[in-house]
Amino acid sequence: MFVGRMIQRELRSSWRRLVFFFICIAIGVGAIVTLRSVIHSVRQAFAGEARTLIAADAVISSNREFPAELTTRITARLAEAGAQSTRSVELATMVRGEAAESRTRMVELKAVEDGFPYYGRMTLAGGQPYDFRLLANGGAIVRPELEAQLGLGVGDRIVIGGRSFEIRALLDAEPGRRLGAFSLGPRVFVSMADLEQTTLVSFGSRATHQRLVRVPDAALDALVTALRGDFTDTFARIRSYKAQEDDIGEDFERAENYLSLVGLVIVILGGIGVSSVTRVFVQQKIKAIAVLKCVGARSSQLLAIYLAQVVVLGLLGSLMGVALAWVTVHTVPGLLLRGATPGVTINYGLTPSAVSQGVSIGLAVSLLFAVVPLLDVRHVKPSRLLRDDSVREPRDWWQLAAIAGVAVALVVLTIWQAGSWRIGLVVIVGLLATAGTLHVAGLVMVRAITPLARSRRFAVRHAVLQLARPGSQARIVLLAVGLGSFFIVGVRALQENLLQQFALDVSTEAPDMFLIDVQSDQVDAVRGAIRSVQDAGSPEPRLIPVLRARVTGVEGRELQLERYEDVRERGSLAREYTVTFRPALERNEQVIQGTFWSDAGPADAEVTDVSIEESVALRFGIAPGDLMRFDVLGRPMTARVTSVRRVNWGDSRAGGFMFVFRPGVIDKAPHGAIGFFKGPVDDKARARLQATLVQLAPNVSVIDGREILQAVKGVVGNVTLAVTVVGSLVVMSGLLILIGAVSMTKFRRVYEAAIFKTLGAGRPLMTAVLTVEYGLLGLLAGTIGAGAAVGLTWGISRFALDIPFRALPGLTGGAILATTVLVAVVGVASSWDVLTRKPLGTLRGE
């Protein structure tokens, strides 16, 4: 009864003091719940779309016609499982308008039956609803590109496989088509019955035969297993939507665990804040505790009272975190993530598992970080009511055991959140190493500034004395704030580095149309055609000469390969390489050995020059000066290696080649070109360009990468948003830690300030002392944290992400400055009452 009542009464008064506790937990939990929920939502959407992606529960497919006995077998199996099925065939074929003079185009034909699709829906231009009757009896639904290329529209007739079809609608999107799949031409839908009246499917046809299956979920796995057994010796395959889901699931799980780990780090930062607050709280409560002990309360009762408060506050904080997450999830993604995932509708919302995980972590962290300082309750002696003996008991076994227990629990928590032993341990070890480094660095730096204590200035002298005296809170503040700024700078720097990398790939100037198989005599005409339709300000289209070559021999200092058979033994050195030639380096290349030529070489040289890529040099031991023999389209050619290049493969704007030849000799060999350029924004202009190019150079294939690029941009946008949100959360947690740490030192300061004041120090002087003290502390903490973060970023960029490291001096310097100012401001501000309070009250112990 006593315990229960006291919890109630204490909460009534202490919540104000513990509101900060509450916020620490709320932010951490909010971060975890938000991150997990968003990922859950996206994942659920994609998993729901897994059926849409294949338009069925399962798809049986074969690149041959199903033999009769197999068809019987399949039909029996489907009947057994209570499944429905519908057939479809995909093949590439030629289409032309009905008029004799019409152009002919290759299209990707898909023939379906009534019933297609089981999941997802066909979207037609102009919002027209799809109905199988549009296809029945000689109907066709075509993509708008075909309309543009053949100059035909709805109502016109086209010839496919010798049969006439009427274009009845234009297709926007279809279920079951993979985004960005290489396509030979625009999509055309016809009915299965009509296709069967043509000879398109016969011996030697290249077609994919499918059976889309709809089956009750309970029977799905058994059906898939049974059919898979039946298919062992055939070309037929079966794939259920679950396999699709698993592929998607794995990626998301990784992302979820990674982001949650960041969330956990935020909670742990919050936990450090909790620990500071609790320590201060217990210090403030010491007298009350002594009184309660004096009137008969047992230590265990008091511990129960305060632990229960922590649990209640932890729970409230967690719930507040959930509320925060709810607000975030319902506002931010809706505003910013829309359209990032074409074809998939995502309903963002909190998921029960994210909420329960968040709340349990919030509770666990509240308890874990509060329990050690709370154990001090046991050491409060009621005798201190008579005498002011603040003798601190040495840590007892209970407390040591508690610390060990807390550490183990944190490790378990981290491993749980990371979803892997390895990553969990790496994070913990990393965290400990960082804390250890920060601690040692703190000690060293405090020692380094100690000579300032001889300063003539009162403020500086006393500020330094405060920091350097034994038992000062400087080390704990350094650790906490240092850790905070470490995380913030680390996350921000990684973010900058990562996003910079992405920005290269998806900048608005990035090429989004690609050409293959341009013949050398077509290059100029193709370039002209592109230029004439490109939007103003678009970069010049790039057409890079390419040709195929094989290495047939090497005469080097290390490597001697006489014959082609010797080369073959070197594995991939014998493969057919695509090579190019040019007079200068590209932007994404740098020479790391030898020198690159600056002009074309003589056309009659017996030995030409070649530059090799770094990995060729490393793997095969080839170095500048070595001679290499190539078979270029059936003719031998000898080249001397004159340089080794490093290629930044992440920057694909200029392509990447293992072998680059000096112009002069090799350019006499027949070569084609590949091209990439930024196509016009307008869809019609793009279609027109395709049509023009086809007419101009029919052998050229145009690949439009805009869909893929837009998807990538969407993903990058989401990553940017996620990282920014996480980064801001980390900044907030860091601030909380700072406030917590400063408040930890405050009670001592109040007393000391009172003494100084009675000794004649005025408020300006006291403010100066505090400003210098906290400013110094901030400077040290910022330097340590930012320094460690730069190290971390370098390590991760270099070894984990394999992206070039950029030092970001602006960010680092800014972070140190911000930490300094922030600590000084927070320190002085939270000590404001110290400065304004009348000293007598403080000294009397009121």
């Binding site: 093949l91 030629m94 496989g161 030697g204 027949p670 052998n699």
Partner: protein, 191 residues
Amino acid sequence: MPADAPGIAMLGDSLTAGLGLDTPDTYPSLIEGRLRAEGIARGVLNAGVSGDTSAGGLRRLPWVMETHPTILLVALGGNDALRGLPVADLRRNLAAIIEGGQQGGALVILAGMEAPPNNGPEYTSAFREVYRDLAREYDVPLIPFLLDGVAGDPALNQVDGIHPNPEGARRVADVVWRALTPHLSRLRSSS
């Protein structure tokens, strides 16, 4: 004519280059082996480039003709069909290749290809006609279908269903050899 001029140059695509096969298993290598067995010590130049169309082959012709082959085997068109490129272009390109080969002093042998039925009857028959017409027009020996007896047989093709496996390549070599036999004397006389 240079001393190391090849007996036969084979201007083709992945079927000639031997995609997915070890070099000794490709049909040009097998032909070279059969020539040796016949006592003809003339090389076979494999001028096959994977993915190449008749347009690409035409651009590569001068480079190949610089080696002055005695016989030029033209085995192109498969990729034109797979990509649905216009038959008229195929005809123009192949005609130019045959003319170029003949002007370079080589005996041109034309290897025919078939477009798969899914391209549609108009395309496949027009495609087939190109080879027959050209053979007649330029009076060059014609192999009616390079993959005769091989195409569409799972036992003779790789899993992609397009490229012959080693056994399939031997059958292709048989087909090519049958077409070559009447002209072996040319290789003997000029060696």
